[in-house]
């Protein structure tokens, strides 16, 4: 592994007396795919928001190769869609392009809509979109500035089976096209299917790192990690 595209070093985050993260180290190589697997309340979303530059760590730091400024080469897909329901799909993207100071907002929006298969509904309001369509539109939104890394926070939540399969397919395509992915999930199957490294995060600490394991192998490891944590608490 050469120099990582993205490193997280000794990250801690406290909210008053509650620690969300207690020293997390991660590395993401260029074009790599990393899944962060953990139960609810493990600190996954907090970790992702800090990586995106939306929150400040209490200690530790996030390093991006070349030290680029916030948002420059990171695309973030949050829990929520980040979309405005009153605006059409096209307008939402044009607005996001302008926020990221793209010089060609309209044509960039057209390109992205075509890539995500939303060209026919480009001029319909995002408020009327199904969950699956809204999710595709937010992927387009996260890619307006053509980031090298995509950070995805539980992207499969609320999707029906067909949309979920389609999203998996799309994320594979993006990875093959050279994007690095960081996927936060509590679903072992998705973590195994989309990533080449899985990090298990429990109670704000990394409890295991797994490279290229099968879904069933990962399942066993995850269960064991959860079990050992609850044993330690007893």
């Amino acid at each position: 592994m050469s120099t990582p595209l993205f490193s997280v070093i000794g990250l801690e985050k406290r909210f008053g007396a509650v620690a969300a993260l207690r020293g997390v180290d991660l590395e993401l190589p260029r074009g790599g795919a990393l899944a962060i697997l953990g139960p609810n309340g493990a600190g996954k979303s907090t970790l992702l928001r800090i990586m995106a530059g939306l929150a400040h760590p209490s200690a530790g730091r996030v390093e991006l190769e070349g030290g680029k400024a916030r948002g420059a080469s990171i695309g973030y897909l949050g829990h929520a869609t980040l979309l405005y329901p009153e605006l059409t799909a096209h307008e939402n993207l044009v607005f996001a392009c302008r926020l990221h100071r793209r010089s060609d907002p309209a044509s960039r929006a057209d390109t992205l809509l075509a890539e995500e298969g939303l060209a026919e509904v480009a001029h319909r309001r995002a408020g009327g979109f199904s969950r699956g369509m809204a999710q595709r539109l937010s992927i387009a939104r996260a890619r307006v500035h053509d980031p090298e890394v995509l950070l995805l926070d539980e992207p499969f939540t609320g999707l029906d089976r067909r949309s979920a399969d389609r999203l998996t397919e799309r994320l594979r395509e993006l990875r093959d096209a050279g994007h690095a992915l960081v996927l936060v999930t509590h679903d072992v199957g998705q973590a195994a299917a989309l990533s080449d490294e899985v990090v298990i995060l429990i109670e704000g600490r990394v409890q295991g790192r797994h490279h290229g394991v099968s879904a069933s192998g990962l399942e066993t490891a995850y269960e064991a990690a959860l079990e050992s944590r609850s044993a330690a608490r007893r």
């Binding site: 909210f15 207690r22 309340g41 400040h56 209490s58 600490r205 990394v206």
Partner: protein, 248 residues
């Protein structure tokens, strides 16, 4: 994966856990307290033995408390703003704790000032509340800093609270000169004496006034340091709970 659970350590933090600045001020607290006790005695004695005002009578003795309280209140609010700016610049939590402590002590001084003022006003001007510009501005500042404390308690703690509060502390400090500017423009009918030191201090009143200022300034610093230390210990305790306690 070493399990880093320090359950053997006590959860009560010691002063040694505090940042350097707070440890240093904490050490000054005890001698300050002793000096303060002595000054208080001297203060009480000079106030009692000062001559009675020929016109106002005994009510005039509020003079030895009221203006010094005002200085304390303004000092508190200015320290809050400066500490807020320092926090925004370098993100060190002790500055935020200083800002909070200073605002709280400032609110106490401001409240006492708002209580002593109307008592004096009733005694000399005949009304409890006169909408005198200076009185109005003080009331306004009192509201600003109560809002500051409210904002802190409703924004959930942590770094966000500290940022919000720092910004609002700066807004509050900006309001002080703006309000005095308004007095300048609209305050022709004010009842406060413009220059206290020169015009209205009779014989024998100067010394207790000066000592009053000194005592209350010292009291302000003493309370501020104490409050700051408490806040620092609380943060240290929270850090330990966060580091040790797991998800329990």
């Amino acid at each position: 994966m070493t399990a880093d659970i320090r359950t053997s350590e006590p959860l009560t933090p010691a002063t040694a856990d505090l940042p350097v600045l707070e440890r240093w001020t904490g050490r000054a607290r005890r001698p300050l307290g002793i000096a303060l006790l002595g000054l208080c005695a001297l203060y009480a004695w000079t106030v009692v033995s000062a001559p009675l005002d020929s016109v106002q009578g005994v009510i005039q003795k509020i003079l030895y408390v009221h203006p010094p309280l005002a200085y304390g209140a303004y000092l508190g609010f200015i320290i809050t703003a400066i500490a807020g700016v320092l926090y925004l610049r370098n993100g060190r939590e002790e500055y935020d704790r200083l800002a909070l402590s200073s605002a709280e002590v400032g609110v106490i001084f401001c409240t006492l000032m708002l209580i002593t003022g109307p008592i004096w006003g009733k005694g000399t001007w005949g009304r409890w509340w006169s909408w005198d510009p200076r009185l109005t501005v003080t009331l306004l500042l009192w509201f600003v800093y109560l809002a500051y404390l409210l904002l802190r308690s409703f924004s959930g703690g942590g770094a966000r609270t500290a940022r919000f509060a720092s910004i609002y502390g700066v807004v509050g400090a900006v309001l002080i000169p703006l309000n005095y500017y308004i007095i300048e423009i609209f305050g022709g009918r004010g009842m406060h004496p413009e220059n206290l030191e020169r015009s209205s201090l009779g014989d024998g009143m100067g010394l207790p006034f000066v000592i009053g200022n000194l005592t209350l300034a010292l009291a302000f610093i003493y309370l501020l340091i104490g409050r700051w230390e408490v806040e620092g210990l609380r943060a240290a305790s929270a850090r330990r709970t966060a580091a040790g306690g797991g998800g329990s």
